[in-house]
């Protein structure tokens, strides 16, 4: 069973990911952090990363969060890629949505703002 080293450039965190797990699930399985975890099924978009080095296989992911151009350029949902070499990646807009909803309604501070 092959395993590969994944490096998250933002934090310098690295972990070993077995070939049968997605890059995201490999991180979770060892209690590591750095990539936001959402649905783990390619639908919600919160675990989006840019792969800067290495190769991977991928599965279908939501076009709402990853365009065909982005996908071709290595911007992918980390829950939908499995490593076939060591990988280096950068997290894109982690939990961007986490703060957006606080703007609604205008003038009202949110539950989570403090």
């Amino acid at each position: 069973m092959a395993a590969y080293t994944i490096v998250i450039e933002d934090t310098g965190e690295s972990y070993r990911c077995v070939e049968y797990r997605s890059v995201l699930e490999g991180m979770e399985a060892l209690g590591k952090k750095g990539i936001p975890v959402g649905c783990r099924q390619g639908g919600c978009g919160v675990c989006k990363v840019r792969v800067t080095a290495g190769s991977y296989t991928k599965r279908v992911m939501s076009r709402e969060h990853v365009s065909a151009e982005e996908e071709a350029a290595g911007c992918v949902l980390s829950c939908r890629i499995k490593p076939i070499t060591d990988l280096r990646l950068a997290v894109i807009g982690p939990m961007r949505k986490n703060v957006c909803w606080m703007a609604e309604p205008a003038g009202v501070s949110s539950v989570l703002s403090t």
Partner: protein
């Protein structure tokens, strides 16, 4: 209590990224009954105990989420009456012809202020639950999958949930069961509404993006079956979001989990009965954690952020 208007949630059409993978998962892991496909390629399902032809429709798409959520109403006179009330409320309605959904009559579709497509319909073929209508046996829970008793409710996310509540209360005669207030003590962060005597038939959370789905929920009969569902999920490597645990709000036991396209689903049990004369329950902003997850008493990262 006489139910003469909107009866219950009747169907949800869910977008999936890989139809065949999803059909296998909804059949083998959820334990729903496949009910055929239509000319558009949509796949239909019901729970074993539901009597109407289907409650879940899967549509292949390039993004996850929910296309529409439908409520069954008493009869066609009620459907016509409710459409008139919607129009009088300033809502634009659309008639979807009978047969567009398999074994289903004409539907009245409209958009909520939060952007979600909602449908009302009166007719869907009664295919029965396999036990018959004379001297029925008990449907012993056996066979593959979680096998919930029914598709029960949904939780939607969008901006103007106040206008949503007004529409559901004034036009469709829903009642408010529970709510969570923001720090100002006035603005609702979330509301739970029922058209029947359930703890909720639809719920909504204030969110900056319109037309988002948080989850579609399926009912189980016992807490033991909620634990059994969790075992089936883990055995099948289903992505679990949170639980098994209990909600403070509605007091139901719960698991949040994701289908193979990242659409959140829930299996739940319990909750209390709510009648229209009962006072709604309010949760304050500082106790929202216990309201959502009663044992952890805090929100997780995904509750307010991960939607499709």
């Amino acid at each position: 209590m006489a139910m003469t208007g909107v009866l219950r949630p009747g169907h949800a059409q869910i977008r999936v990224l890989d139809l065949e993978e999803s059909v296998a998962w909804y059949t083998n892991v959820m334990g729903l009954v496949p009910m055929g496909r239509d000319v558009q390629g949509r796949a239909y399902f019901k729970t074993r105990q539901e009597r109407d032809h289907h409650s879940i429709i899967l549509r292949q798409a390039d993004r996850a989420g929910m296309d529409f959520f439908g409520f069954k109403v008493l009869d066609n006179a009620t459907l016509n009456h409710l459409e008139k009330k919607l129009v009088a409320h300033g809502v634009r309605t659309e008639r979807i012809p009978a047969g567009d959904l398999l074994e289903t009559g004409e539907r009245v579709r409209f958009n909520l202020p939060t952007g979600h497509a909602i449908e009302l319909y009166a007719e869907k073929k009664d295919v029965g639950n396999g036990m018959g209508y004379v001297n029925p046996d008990v449907d012993v829970l056996e066979g593959k999958g979680i096998a919930p008793t029914r598709m029960d409710h949904c939780l939607i996310y969008g901006p103007d949930i106040d206008a949503n509540r007004e529409l559901f209360e004034k036009v469709l005669d829903f009642t408010l069961v529970e709510r969570v207030k923001l720090e100002d003590g006035t603005t609702d962060l979330a509301t739970w509404l029922t058209c029947s005597a359930k703890a909720h038939d639809i719920a909504m959370v204030r969110h900056n993006e319109p037309d988002k789905m948080h989850h579609v929920s399926f009912r189980l009969d016992t807490w033991e079956q909620v634990l059994r569902a969790a075992d089936i999920m883990s055995k099948n490597r289903t992505s679990i979001d949170f639980g098994p645990t209990r909600h403070g709000i509605t007091q139901g036991t719960t698991i949040y989990f994701f289908d193979p396209s990242g659409n959140r689903l829930e299996t739940f049990c319990g909750g209390y009965d709510h009648y229209p004369d009962m006072h709604p329950i309010t949760w304050t902003w500082d106790e929202v954690g216990a309201g959502i997850y009663y044992h952890a008493r805090k929100l997780n990262d995904t509750f307010l952020t991960v939607v499709t």
